[in-house]
C-alpha cells in the first residue's frame, strides 16, 4: 500500500505546516513516515515522495542520505545507538559500548543473529550529563535511556518485544 493510502491524514497535517508553494519542506516528515514500518526507506517510498513533492528521486535520495537518522538498508528491528562522544566518553561510554557489544555478541555496526538489535556508535545525542546513554531508534520513534549501567541497559532491551 502506498504512503498516501496508509497515512493520508498525517500527510495532510504535514503539508498544512508549510506554505502551499513550499511543499518540499515536508520531505523530512515524509521520510520519517516512510521509515515507520520497516525502519528503513524503500526505493518505492522515495519514488512516491518524489512524486508528491514534484522533485526527482535523486533529490529525495540526496536528502535521505544526508541525515544520519534516515536509513536506506533494513537492519535490526531496534537500533541501539550509544553515544561515545567526548563528554560521554569522559564518563565511561567507551567501555559501556564494549560491554554492551560483548553482552549482545556483536560488534558496533552489527546486528544480532535474531535480527532484533543493531548496535550503533553515534555522535552526541544531547544527554552528556547523563552518560552512559543510548537511544533506541525503532520505526519512526526514538527513545532515550540515560544514566545506564550494563544491567539496566540489558533490562531495557529485554522489555522491547
Amino acid at each position: 500500500m502506498s504512503l498516501a493510502q496508509k497515512y493520508s491524514q498525517e500527510i495532510q497535517a504535514i503539508f498544512a505546516k508549510y506554505p502551499p508553494e513550499q511543499k518540499r519542506s515536508a520531505i523530512m516528515s515524509l521520510l520519517y513516515l516512510a521509515q515507520r514500518e520497516e525502519g528503513y526507506i524503500s526505493q518505492e517510498a522515495m519514488k512516491e515522495i518524489a512524486d508528491m513533492l514534484e522533485i526527482s528521486v535523486t533529490e529525495v535520495a540526496g536528502v535521505a542520505g544526508f541525515y544520519t537518522l534516515f536509513h536506506r538498508q533494513k537492519e535490526g528491528k531496534y537500533r541501539i545507538q550509544v553515544c561515545t562522544d567526548l563528554p560521554c566518553a569522559l564518563r565511561g561510554a567507551d567501555s559501556f559500548l564494549q560491554e554492551l557489544a560483548q553482552a549482545l555478541g556483536v560488534r558496533p555496526g552489527e546486528t544480532t543473529p535474531d535480527g532484533r538489535f543493531t548496535l550503533e556508535e553515534v555522535m552526541c545525542v544531547g544527554a552528556c550529563h547523563r552518560a552512559p546513554v543510548f537511544q533506541v531508534q525503532h520505526g519512526d520513534t526514538i527513545t532515550f535511556h540515560e544514566n545506564m549501567s550494563l544491567e539496566e541497559a540489558l533490562a531495557v532491551l529485554k522489555k522491547l518485544e
Partner: protein, 420 residues
C-alpha cells in the same frame, strides 16, 4: 527573588501546564507587546537589555531583529532548537520543563519582526520534545494565544515545529534554513544574511531557544532590570551545561560573571575522585582547550573574558578534563566528531577532517612521532579561514590548542609493551 529566570520549572514544578504558567505571569508580556507596544518598541527594549545570542555566537539579539529587511515580505522567525554540540544540553531542559516561556519568546520575537509564521527546528533526537511542544502549541491555540487577530488586534501568528534528522551542521543558521526548505543541510554563502535572505528567500530571524526564553521577562520587567544582572559585556543569566569529569554534571543557570571555580567546584561538586583539573573546554567540542591555572579558574565569565585566554564562551558548554586524561585522546574524539559531521560542501573541511582523523589515529596507534604531530598541526591550520561556515574552523580548535598548550601529551613516547 526567585533563583531562576529560565529553568523556572525547578521552582514551579507544574509550570509546563498553561494555567500554572499564566498564574505566574505567563503571556502577560506577549499581550503587553501586542496590545500596547509597536514592534519597534519591543525591538528597542530587547536591544537596550543587552541580550546576546545564547547559541554560541553572542550576537546582540535586538540588533539582529532590527536588521530585518522591511521591503521584503513575509517575514519569518525560526527558533534554533538543533542543539547538537557535544557538551550542550540546556535547550532541551528549557523546552521540557518550561515550554511556554520559550514559546512566548517565539511569539514576542515574531511580533517584533512582523512575522505571522514561526518555525521551531528541533534536532531529530529530541523527537519527544517536538511532540510535547506540538501539544503546548495546540493548547495556546485553544486559549486564543495563537491564531487569527490576537487580543483583538490585527496581529495573527502560527507556530510550527519541524523535526531534523541527525545533522550537527543544521545548527548553523543557513544550513538549518536549507534543511527547513527540504534540502540537504548545507550552509549558504553569506552575505546575504538571513534577515535579508532567509527562509524561502524571505527575511528571517534565527534565534536560539535560550535566547528567546529570556525575551518575555525582558519585555515584562524592562531593560534596566535585565542589565542589573551579569556583566556589562554580557547582561543577564546563562545556562552553563557542565559535563565531563565532575561530580555533579548538569545545567546550571547563573549570572554572567560567575567563575569556573564556582561553577566546577561549588555547583558541580568538584572533580571526580578529587583529581586535579587539567583542562576546560568552555564551548563544547568546538572549543579551544584551556590549560587550567588559578587565573583561568577565577576569571569572571563572559564573552570578552575568555578571549584573553585564547578561547571562547560559545554556548557555555563546559567540558571538564582531569589529569587522568591525555589530550591526544581528547582531540581524537573531537576530530572523529567533526569528520562525521562535516557536510562535505567545502573541500578544506571535508578533506581536512578526513586527514586529521587519519593522522590522529596513526599517532595514537603507532606512537607520537614528532613529524606526524607537526603534519597534523599543519593540516589543521590549512583548514582555518577557508570554509563557508564555522564547522571547518571548529574542527581545528581543539587540535591546534591541544598540541600547542599541552605539548607534553604529544611528545614522542616509547610505546608500552612494545619491545625495544
Amino acid at each position: 527573588m526567585s533563583q531562576y529566570l529560565l529553568l523556572r520549572h525547578r521552582e514551579i514544578p507544574e509550570i509546563s501546564r498553561l494555567e500554572v504558567y499564566r498564574q505566574h505571569g505567563g503571556f502577560e508580556a506577549f499581550q503587553k507587546a501586542v496590545t500596547t507596544m509597536t514592534p519597534e518598541q519591543v525591538t528597542e527594549v530587547v536591544k537596550a537589555s543587552g541580550l546576546r545570542g545564547r547559541g554560541g555566537a553572542g550576537f546582540p539579539t535586538g540588533l539582529k531583529w532590527s536588521f530585518m529587511d522591511r521591503k521584503s515580505w513575509p517575514h519569518y522567525v525560526v527558533a534554533n532548537a538543533d542543539e547538537s554540540e557535544p557538551g550542550t544540553f540546556k535547550d532541551r531542559e528549557i523546552m521540557e520543563g518550561n515550554p511556554f516561556q520559550f514559546l512566548e519568546g517565539v511569539a514576542i520575537a515574531s511580533y517584533a519582526v512582523g512575522a505571522q509564521r514561526a518555525y521551531i527546528y528541533i534536532r531529530g533526537e529530541y523527537q519527544h520534545i517536538a511532540r510535547w511542544l506540538d501539544e503546548k502549541i495546540a493548547e495556546m491555540e485553544a486559549a486564543g494565544l495563537l491564531g487569527e487577530k490576537l487580543f483583538g488586534t490585527d496581529y495573527s501568528l502560527r507556530i510550527y515545529t519541524h523535526l531534523g534528522a541527525g545533522a550537527y551542521i543544521c545548527g548553523e543558521e543557513t544550513a538549518l534554513l536549507e534543511s527547513l526548505e527540504g534540502k540537504r543541510g548545507q550552509p549558504r554563502v553569506r552575505p546575504p544574511f538571513p534577515p535579508t535572505f532567509g527562509l524561502y528567500g524571505k527575511p528571517t530571524v534565527v534565534n536560539n531557544v535560550e535566547t528567546l526564553t529570556n525575551v518575555p521577562l525582558i519585555v515584562q520587567n524592562g531593560a534596566e532590570w535585565y542589565r542589573s544582572m551579569g556583566t556589562p559585556d554580557a547582561p543577564g543569566v546563562k545556562i552553563f551545561s557542565l559535563s565531563g569529569r565532575v561530580k555533579r554534571p548538569g545545567s546550571y543557570e547563573l549570572p554572567f560573571g560567575v567563575t569556573f571555580r564556582q561553577l566546577i567546584y561549588e555547583y558541580g561538586g568538584g572533580i571526580l575522585d578529587d583529581r586535579p583539573i587539567k583542562a576546560i573546554m568552555p564551548a563544547g567540542a568546538s572549543s579551544s582547550l584551556l590549560r587550567v591555572d588559578d587565573r583561568v579558574l577565577d576569571t569572571p565569565l563572559d564573552y570578552a573574558a575568555l578571549r584573553q585566554f585564547g578561547s571562547d564562551l560559545g554556548s557555555a558548554s563546559v567540558i571538564v578534563i582531569d589529569d587522568t586524561v591525555s589530550i591526544d585522546w581528547v582531540i581524537q574524539k573531537t576530530i572523529r566528531f567533526f569528520k562525521h559531521e562535516s557536510c562535505g560542501k567545502c573541500t578544506p573541511c571535508r578533506e581536512g577532517t578526513y586527514w586529521m582523523k587519519h593522522l590522529i589515529d596513526r599517532i595514537r596507534k603507532n606512537g607520537k612521532e614528532e613529524k606526524q604531530v607537526k603534519l597534523l598541526l599543519d593540516v589543521a591550520r590549512q583548514i582555518q579561514g577557508k570554509c563557508l561556515c564555522a564547522l571547518g574552523e571548529f574542527s581545528t580548535m581543539a587540535v591546534v590548542s591541544g598540541i600547542e598548550r599541552f605539548p607534553e601529551d604529544f611528545r614522542e613516547t616509547v610505546l608500552e609493551g612494545v619491545p625495544g
